[in-house]
């Protein structure tokens, strides 16, 4: 195997496994035939094309099945990832609840709605109890101090209502999916990768003394995910991405609303970006329907 072939094989990992198994060799054949002699490094435009092509293929596959059920599943997945991120820094103090939250995310990712329901209900009840300062299920010493990734005690910056809204929406979505009853397509394992940066309280970008600081890493992950939802909506002309984005942004807005009196211009810019991206994701499929009246090769 030449260095060029090895590097192209690595880039082809951007495609889903079954697509790669079926057509990976065919793409590799064309890539090697098109390459200049003695070339050992992929051309940048070919590398970019493979990464974007692979991502596009993954998003296309994620967009199959019932549109609304898939949209609800997507929104619940994002909420469960954020819920695990909220507990992760406190794992040394509350290993049981962090593990249950991780199991909830695992069940949701695999499309197992019924096992996910009690897990989200239990962790949600405990989270609201901690935010309220009330004991529930065990005698946890409050405040719960972090082990890593942040300095603030658990839910020190959150009142019970936004925490309850977060878990109530996730539970509501799971109940709707349970009533729907049909199998859900498992979601990507890459969702695990968003948890640590969402949990990290750094790098700080808001002024020191801000009552409700939001880390740059969390904001970057949220905006990247919403940007991908917008791109997926544009590619698939499907409203499922908007539904998932709306569910997540509703919870993010509830968190900000809880601190309405303390919001800075940076908070409002952040919230504006979230709402803009979710709104744009909802509008792009309509743009396609309007153009569809005049068939064209675009």
């Amino acid at each position: 195997m030449t260095p060029l072939e090895r590097r192209y094989r690595r880039l082809l990992r951007a495609y889903p496994h079954d697509y790669r198994s079926a057509y990976g060799d065919e793409l590799l054949d064309v890539l090697l035939e098109s390459a200049a002699p003695l070339r050992t490094v992929p051309e940048p435009r070919e590398a970019t094309g493979l990464v974007i092509g692979g991502l596009r293929e993954r998003l296309t596959r994620a967009g199959r099945g019932s549109s609304w059920a898939n949209g609800v599943h997507l929104g619940v997945t994002a909420l469960c990832a954020a819920q695990l991120a909220a507990l992760l820094p406190y794992a040394p103090a509350i290993p049981l609840w962090t593990s249950l939250s991780a199991l909830a995310l695992l069940a949701v990712l695999r499309g197992r709605v019924r096992p996910a329901l009690p897990l989200v209900l239990l962790t949600g009840a405990k989270a609201v109890a901690v935010a309220s300062g009330e004991p529930l299920f065990d005698h946890l010493l409050l405040p719960v101090e972090p082990g890593f990734l942040t300095d603030a005690p658990l839910f020190a910056l959150s009142e019970p209502p936004p925490v309850a809204t977060d878990y109530a929406l996730a539970l509501g979505g799971l109940l709707v999916l349970a009533v729907y009853g049909r199998p859900l397509t498992p979601r990507s394992w890459w969702w695990w990768a968003v948890v640590p940066p969402m949990a990290w309280a750094g790098p700080a970008w808001m002024e020191s003394g801000t009552v409700y600081p939001i880390s740059l890493s969390r904001m970057a992950v949220e905006l990247a995910l919403l940007g991908m939802a917008l791109w997926a909506g544009r590619l698939s002309h499907d409203p499922r991405w908007a539904l998932g984005a709306t569910i997540y942004v509703t919870v993010a807005s509830a968190r900000l609303w809880d601190h309405a009196a303390d919001l800075t211009r940076q908070h409002l810019a952040y919230w504006g970006l979230l709402v803009f991206l979710a709104g744009a994701t909802a509008l792009v499929p309509f743009g396609h329907w309007r153009r569809a009246s005049t068939p064209r090769l675009d």
């Binding site: 057509y23 793409l27 054949d29 035939e33 094309g49 596009r56 090769l297």
Partner: protein, 98 residues
């Protein structure tokens, strides 16, 4: 997509031949990457304007040959007529000829 479908009017082709055809038809202006080309081929297949004609194994690797369908021929011809009519609006004007 237009150049891909126009290339396939000459008969079934595999990915590398389509890339070469697109480059020649466009005078080198359009050079899609392999990832972009296969994204286009997948979308055209889903829309039913092209189909896999056959598969061959070359150098131990499977290779699909794509062909344009009847629906695809109708689409690309309609697009050509539309562009021709749009171009005629300008070309037929006396001021342009002068």
């Amino acid at each position: 997509m237009y150049f891909v479908l126009t290339t396939l009017l000459d008969g079934p082709m595999h990915g590398h031949a389509i890339l070469k055809g697109v480059g020649e038809l466009s005078g080198g202006r359009v050079r899609p990457s392999v990832g972009t080309l296969y994204g286009i081929l997948e979308r055209l297949s889903e829309r039913g304007v092209i189909a896999v004609d056959r598969e061959e194994v070359v150098n131990g690797r499977s290779r699909r040959y794509f062909r344009i369908t009847d629906a695809g021929q109708a689409v690309v011809r309609a697009e050509a007529r539309r562009m021709h009519a749009a171009a005629a609006l300008v070309i037929n004007r006396a001021t342009f000829a002068g």
